[in-house]
């Protein structure tokens, strides 16, 4: 019994910024319910007083000198851009400009 339903799938897909078709919503709801039921078995394992592991590495706070090193040129970094504007990646307007007459109103 999992808490996944089509509404949750739509909501989470929106958080993940993925457009889904209704057919995908239905299919993923069914498939993810089965998967979540299987992973839900973890609840049966007693983990009181067990610390979480984020990384298995016995390393912490790896430091190095902050030195100048050669990096990519602007052209190398930009060459895959789907849409560019000179040396800038072009995207749609994120924050609309206010019309000047209403500024400060």
């Amino acid at each position: 019994m999992s808490e996944i339903d089509p509404r949750v799938v739509r909501y989470v897909a929106d958080l993940a910024r993925i457009a889904l078709t209704e057919e995908e919503v239905d299919r993923f709801t069914r498939q993810l319910s089965v998967v979540l039921d299987a992973v839900g078995k973890l609840r049966e394992i007693d983990t009181q007083a067990i610390p979480p592991t984020a990384s298995v590495l016995p390393l912490e706070n790896v430091m190095r000198e902050d030195e100048l090193r050669p990096g990519l040129t602007v052209e190398e970094a930009m060459r895959g851009a789907p849409v560019r504007d000179g040396d800038l990646f072009r995207v749609q307007t994120v924050i609309e400009e206010r019309p000047p007459e209403r500024a400060g109103a």
Partner: protein, 515 residues
């Protein structure tokens, strides 16, 4: 025509004896990659390969060439290659040509190894059948109606079919070892932190590791020797003293303690797989190893831990594919809609499922119940392995519960697909090294034996694997690249020309290294 599936020492000897040249080997490998009937390749980097081969021939002539110089290899297309398109098996990276190479590629370049091209894979390495590639399923050379395993299916097939001498794959939950098992070759995942991940398309960063496919255990060790070592560009690589990974290959297993975890022989394992693996364990015992049954009870939770942590990390890593800086862009009326349409069109079904699963496990209200819970069980799994390695030198298990299955058999059942990796993913959860090598056939298809060792104990891993390999033999893939080869005839060379025996091609490989 020399055979590129000859072992690395055999090729190195032939190159130095001028029986072949790196250019000749590269040309043969390019031709076989172009003619590959399994859809194993996504790109052949002919110009780059031939330039590398010419340089390798010059270096060999100067007499200062390392063992891998001039040896043809194949690169899983999730590993970034400067000026060679890198797709990760996804439409979302459409047109992406990396401006730099992964550290592992640079290291093999420095050794003079010749990269022939890029191999097919499950999209972003998410899968265990290679059916999730945006560029079509890869077919298993043992039976073209079956999957090669995944996610590094193309690399496994390129080696199994004798198109290249070795290949690189990545292994997040079994993506090297499982296809190696299903295709009858050697596949090895190093200890987490031994190989740089810099320049490798990130999937689940606390689990991913690069490793080799090869036809012999020794070749896998030779490739690891070239790959291992700290990288200033990857802060998760371990600074460790240099060591010779091949030092124990000939030592045998007499007196070693080998553990057989009872949780790895459970319901769901095919009888033919269990029979082959038990047979391999008996062989190791016959050679003088002490076999002990051990228990790893937290194994039961491994699948759950993996299918929370892995999609959670992936959902964060794949957030970068937004259609702004590289790859596909599908315009919408505003920026957020552009992101959603780009990702909706660019990602395949399995990637979308995992993005949703991972985002869900990290979302408010579920973070503690899923993500933190999984991290705690991860601690238990790791601690169990550490305890068992106080008693035994290595563990021996099946690699996969089944042999290669039919194309399409599991595509609509994600949970059934996920269970393919049930014996390999605990190794990634704990960050241990693991290797799969062929241990015979079941119903005419290869079975893999998995050996797991403690942290940074790769020399022990190769020791156990090499001991079994000497007796158990390599598998000859039906229809693999033809028999003629360079160098003096060896038992191995003669074996290659032999028709498949009653067991469908299992052949002894005594003296493989004495070339």
């Amino acid at each position: 025509m020399p055979e590129s599936s000859a072992s690395v020492p055999a090729l190195a000897a032939a190159l130095r004896a001028r029986e072949t040249s790196a250019v000749e080997l590269a040309s043969a490998a390019i031709a076989s990659a172009r003619a590959d009937p399994y859809n194993a390749w996504l790109a052949v980097a002919e110009e780059r390969a031939l330039a590398q081969a010419r340089a390798a021939d010059e270096r060999i002539a100067r007499g200062d060439a390392p063992l891998l110089c001039g040896v043809p290899w194949a690169c899983k297309d999730i590993i970034g290659t400067r000026d060679v398109a890198t797709t990760a098996g996804s439409r979302i990276l459409d047109g992406y040509v990396p401006p730099y190479s992964a550290t592992v590629v640079e290291r093999l370049d420095a050794h003079g190894a010749v990269m022939i091209g890029k191999t097919n894979l499950d999209e972003f390495a998410m899968g265990s059948s290679n059916e999730n590639s945006a560029f079509g399923v890869v077919r298993n050379p043992w039976d073209r109606s079956r999957v090669p395993g995944g996610s590094s299916g193309g690399s496994a097939v390129a080696v199994a079919a004798g198109e290249v001498t070795f290949a690189l794959g990545t292994d997040t939950g079994g993506s090297i070892r499982q296809p190696a098992a299903l295709c009858g070759v050697v596949g090895m995942k190093p200890t987490y932190g031994r190989v740089s991940r810099y320049g490798v398309v990130a999937f689940a960063s606390s689990l991913d590791q690069v490793g080799p496919f090869a036809t012999t255990v020794e070749d896998a060790a030779i490739v690891c020797q070239a790959l291992f070592g700290a990288d200033p560009a990857d802060a998760t690589t371990m600074p460790l003293p240099d060591e010779d990974l091949r030092r124990d290959l000939e030592r045998g297993v007499r007196g070693m303690r080998l553990g057989v975890p009872k949780e790895y022989f459970v319901e769901g394992i095919e009888p033919g797989v269990e029979r082959a693996v038990r047979g391999a364990i008996r062989e190791l015992e016959r050679q003088g190893a002490r076999i002990e049954e051990v228990s790893l009870p937290a194994t039961d939770g491994a699948l759950g831990v993996y299918y929370i942590i892995q999609p959670a990390e992936a959902s964060a890593n794949l957030a970068r594919y937004d259609g702004v800086r590289y790859g596909l862009r599908v315009e919408g009326p505003d920026l957020v809609e552009t992101y959603k349409r780009t990702r909706g069109a660019g990602f395949g079904a399995e990637v979308k499922r995992r993005m949703i699963l991972g985002t869900y496990a990290l979302s408010t209200g579920y973070y503690d119940a899923y993500y933190v819970k999984a991290q705690k069980v991860r601690t238990l799994i790791k601690a169990e392995f550490e305890r068992v390695f106080e008693r035994v030198d290595a563990l021996v298990t099946p690699t996969s519960p089944t042999v290669a299955f039919g194309i399409g058999a599991k595509v609509d059942d994600p949970l059934a697909m996920y269970l393919n990796d049930v014996f390999t993913l605990p190794v990634n959860i704990a960050g241990l090294p693991g290797i799969s090598l062929p241990c015979g056939l079941s119903e005419g298809l290869p079975v893999g034996l998995q050996v797991i060792a403690g942290y940074n104990q790769e020399a022990t891993l190769f020791r156990v694997a090499a001991a079994y390999e000497r007796a158990g033999g390599r598998l000859r893939t039906p229809g693999a690249q033809s028999a003629s080869r360079t160098g003096a005839p060896t038992p191995e060379a003669e074996g290659r020309g032999r028709a498949p025996g009653p067991e469908g091609g299992l052949r002894p490989a005594e003296g493989v290294r004495q070339v």
